[in-house]
Symmetry: C2
Subunit: 204 residues, 2 copies
DNA sequence: TAAGAACAGTGACATATGTCATAGCCCAAG
DNA sequence: CTTGGGCTATGACATATGTCACTGTTCTTA
């Protein structure tokens, strides 16, 4: 029996997923958490075989949970289950020790398989994820660095340089430099054109 | 027994939600669709008591489904279940005939209640949604004039004020004024946000 | 006819944006 | 160990952007 902690902020999704997974005879959703803070609390009080972790959450997001776990030397294996298909977040999550990363559009059997593979000590990257990674690698012309991608994402959300600087804890000048780099690499003249290009090409 | 068509692109979410809802003795998920096109196909082949509709989907999104349904005079009641908290999308959905609009972080009992209320002919707006709506209504966004629409189109093509001025044979100051009006009406702070909104809302 | 709108324009003003040069730090590859 | 790339930062600079107030003209409509 695999004891799972399921961390997901949307109630419906969490309960639904728990029901589905509990149908498998080897899997038991042993704990629920609605955000990162609750997850940390659960992890300090109890032990689980695996953590099923969403990335976008209030209070403390997935990356934050991974950081806290690393700090407290908690090495419970973590499988990321998310909608967010961002290369940078994926890389960060893996670097922070996540053992698997799958998207929510995965089939149920695949997810169950992924859980068992993680438990078996394997690393799991859904094919859609690896495809995305490969695709990113194969377009070296626009070859944005990790930071530049994050900045572009922020731009695509309509943030000003000042806001981005606050969000990423950098000086505004630094962000300006990154923006300048992004514009050069995307071969556009201003942030609006960059955002249009990013949206059209799904670079965000 | 309420026969439901569940339209949701993420497999896990769809199956989980279906399981949860099927627990209710009055509700039966009678059809699944992974995107808008599949939903339309299902709706032309069978009849349902209600459609549970996600907004963000590949191929044909929630608004598209509502449009198609209206075109084909299909008046099956629709309850929107989405993560997307955008006021404009909400308003558009309601105008296109959606009978309810709830967010995915709703509690299960509330959702079941919402379904039954829609079936009973009532309009359902989750309190979180109405709060947001009220807040937005206090700053009523007026319609863009013809000229403003043209200017917004140009902005969405990445043109600077100077370029737009040349293109439309106006002074740059005039264009600046129009841009300023557009920003105010769209309730955004700069041209980048305006373009993002225009693209997302198909205002161009 | 009077009122109200859309449209065009100007000038002044405050910020935001983007570029450039320069420089330090860190880390990985050679 | 050296080199280069990525990240951070600063200061200076030119230009773009957005706001405001105010002035017109031309319509439509109450």
């Amino acid at each position: 029996m695999i004891k799972c902690l399921l961390v997901e902020d949307q109630t419906l999704v969490r309960l639904g997923l728990a029901n589905l997974l509990n149908l498998d005879e080897d899997i038991f959703i042993d704990g629920h958490a609605e955000d990162g803070l609750q997850a940390i609390t659960q992890l300090t009080q109890r032990s689980f075989d695996i953590v099923l972790l969403d990335m976008r959450m209030p209070n403390l997001d997935g990356l934050g949970v991974l950081e806290k776990m690393r700090e407290s030397l908690n090495n419970t294996p973590v499988l990321i289950i998310t909608t967010f298909e961002d290369c940078d977040v994926l890389v960060k999550a893996i670097n922070l020790g996540a053992r698997g990363y799958v998207l929510k559009n995965i089939e149920l059997e695949e997810l169950i398989d992924a859980i068992k593979r993680v438990i078996a000590g394997k690393r799991v990257l859904q094919s859609a994820v690896t495809d995305y990674l490969l695709q990113q690698q194969l377009t070296p012309q626009q070859c944005l660095t990790a930071k530049e991608q994050v900045v572009l994402q922020c731009m695509s959300l309509g943030m000003s340089n000042k806001v981005i600087a606050n969000r990423l804890d950098n000086s505004e000048g630094t962000i300006r430099n990154h923006v300048s780099q992004v514009l050069a690499k995307l071969n556009v003249k201003d942030r609006t054109q960059a955002v249009i290009k990013a949206i059209n090409q799904n670079l965000i």
